[in-house]
């Protein structure tokens, strides 16, 4: 697999703050909050600014209670439940995210479908994991800053996926509950070392969900960059044919 692209080299970072991004980001907002899309809906742009939508399937993995469901909720701008309930099956969440490619200036809507499955359910029912792996494009490995074991288990998890997929997948590491520094169990140095060893991007999330796009944009842009770059490398050229589906 090729080198990971540097942050901001593929898509324009902080595009949601730029003036020309506004009309696109408005499509994923409703009364200043994130809009929730049913499966039959998608952001609709006026006909003269037709934008392609690229679909990706992303699997969230990590120890029980690490915050997989909460991360999915955060990325769609929903409130995170105060009480932790186990996810007893597979739940998927759709995130639409507009990006502007740095080279060509082309705008794309990414439709990221996050697949989240409770660890206990995975253990109890054999059919769930294959269903999550079917045509998956990326895996987010989650660990919690408040749970050392979840961090220590990462190499194990990552190598499991590497063997099977042989570089076919985009991999990203996300550290959750970064705001609870009082209970922090994973030192910054450890994270740095880990990052050097594995050469995977490590992102941090935590704290209250705000309605703005600021707290989700680093993660979503990073993911977008990796996915798009990976697609380009796989296709062997930049002007590749993407599967584009536009739902009405």
């Amino acid at each position: 697999m090729s080198q990971n692209p540097a942050t901001g080299s593929v898509v324009v970072s902080d595009w949601h703050r730029c003036k020309d991004g506004k009309e696109y980001f408005n499509k994923i907002l409703h009364r200043k909050k994130r809009k929730i899309f049913g499966l039959l809906e998608s952001p609709v742009m006026p006909p003269h600014v037709a934008v392609d939508t690229v679909h990706y399937k992303i699997f969230l993995t990590g120890k029980s209670g690490v915050g997989k469901t909460a991360l999915a909720a955060r990325l769609t701008g929903r409130n995170i439940p105060n009480v932790h309930y186990e996810t007893t099956g597979v739940e998927t969440t759709v995130v639409f995210w507009p990006v502007k490619l740095r080279d060509s200036g082309r705008v794309l809507f990414l439709r990221l479908q996050l697949w989240d499955c409770g660890e206990n359910a995975l253990r109890r029912f054999d059919h769930l994991l294959p269903s999550c792996k079917e045509q998956v494009d990326a895996v987010l490995f989650l660990f919690s800053f408040t749970d050392r074991t979840s961090f220590d288990d990462l190499p194990n998890q990552i190598s499991k996926w590497t063997e099977e997929s042989a570089g076919r997948l985009v991999k990203l590491v996300v550290g959750t509950k970064f705001d609870l520094f009082m209970h922090c169990d994973v030192a910054q140095r450890d994270v740095r070392d880990f990052q050097e060893t594995w050469r995977l991007p490590v992102l941090r999330v935590g704290g209250e969900v705000s309605n703005g796009l600021d707290d989700v944009s680093p993660l979503l842009n990073c993911l977008a960059e990796q996915l798009w770059h990976h697609d380009c490398v796989t296709a062997g050229s930049v002007g590749l044919q993407q599967e584009t589906v536009t739902l009405l």
């Binding site: 039959l40 809906e41 929903r78 759709v94 409770g118 359910a121 269903s131 009405l248």
Partner: protein, 430 residues
Amino acid sequence: MMLQDGSTQLLCLTASSGVPLFTRGASKQLPFSVIGSLNGVHMFGGGQGVVLSGCETEGGGKVVWRVFQDSVMLIAVNGGGQGGVGCSREEEVRLQRLLENVWNCMVLVLGQDELANIRNVERLKRDLRSCFGLIDQMLEERQEGVLGSLTHCADLLLPPNPTLLQEAVDGFAEAADSEFGCLIIHGRIAAATEKWWRLAPQEVVLLSALIRSLSDSASASCDYPVFLPHGSPTVAHRLLRFQLLPGADVCVLCGPSPSLHTAETGLVGRFWAPLVETLRDCLAVGERCVPQAVNLRPDVLALLLINRETRRSVSSVLHPLADAPPPSKARCWELLKLFYIFSTTRYFTQEESVCVSTEESGPRGRANDFARGFSHQPLQCYLVTEECKSYALQTPQHQLFLLFPPSVPTFVLRTAATQTLSDVVAATGL
């Protein structure tokens, strides 16, 4: 009582040894010694050949017990007092129903085998955590206007365009290799396949509750393993659920195929994309649940109509004016529930909805004594309180419960009720 007024706490223990498995509800937990005593007194009764099913405290608190599969004991404790709803018999019925629902939730998620044959208590404790989401939902009864967990009749939303939706649900289920399909709008069933209606009424209600909680989380689709407490308590099926529009969910119960990915990419758009506008019309019916085209008398505050044969119900609180005089909308729902329990425990008693059906059904005894006092089966009843006037009537096929404002003359109630019944049934075919 050591509980706050009106709050309900649920305790779950192993029936044989009294090991606590979990407690839910109420912010302040009962002390361990009290839990031990509650278990002890039930066990003492068992030793004397007596089944203790419920008791009442001086302060108006209530405790009900029930053992399931000789394996798990559930105890519900209510603090009584000001916050408590209704009088004690209503409360006891509500708690008994709660225990039954909670047990069904546990079976739905874990399957009966794991609960009936406890091999490793610590492991069961851990596994039971996966039921808390649903159990808490049962305890809190979060959504106004969904009465299924009480009536064990499916809550319906009557769509303005039923034929189109019915065809789509049938076609969608068939394409997903399933005979069980259902469309849920605002947490209520708008259309379902014939087989879906053959599931036990409790299962229909329970699945609706599960789908409601999944729909609230706003996830786009789900693949949930579920055990059916009556139809398939030991073999799990897959519940596939797709959020078509926010508030509109379609689901199927199926076997190993199709995969969630296949069903979502291949079937959802094909069957439902042409119906987006129809679905939006359906969502617009909202909490009223009855299409605007159905004319209801302007003096009806709230209604609950049950079809006794099909075990389906539709309920609605009608507040035409924003600044309507009290009772408030929330209170209307509360009053409707209380009046339902009042009527079904005292007058419409042969109705199997109140029968807790099996072994130990607590409130039956007294209710039966009361009913035996009559030489006939009451067909109508009414209740006049300071807050509202209520009227209920039953026919072999239907039961109708209505709330009116206190200003409506009592002698009008019967005519109004009869008229409402025939109007709604004629317009909706329920």
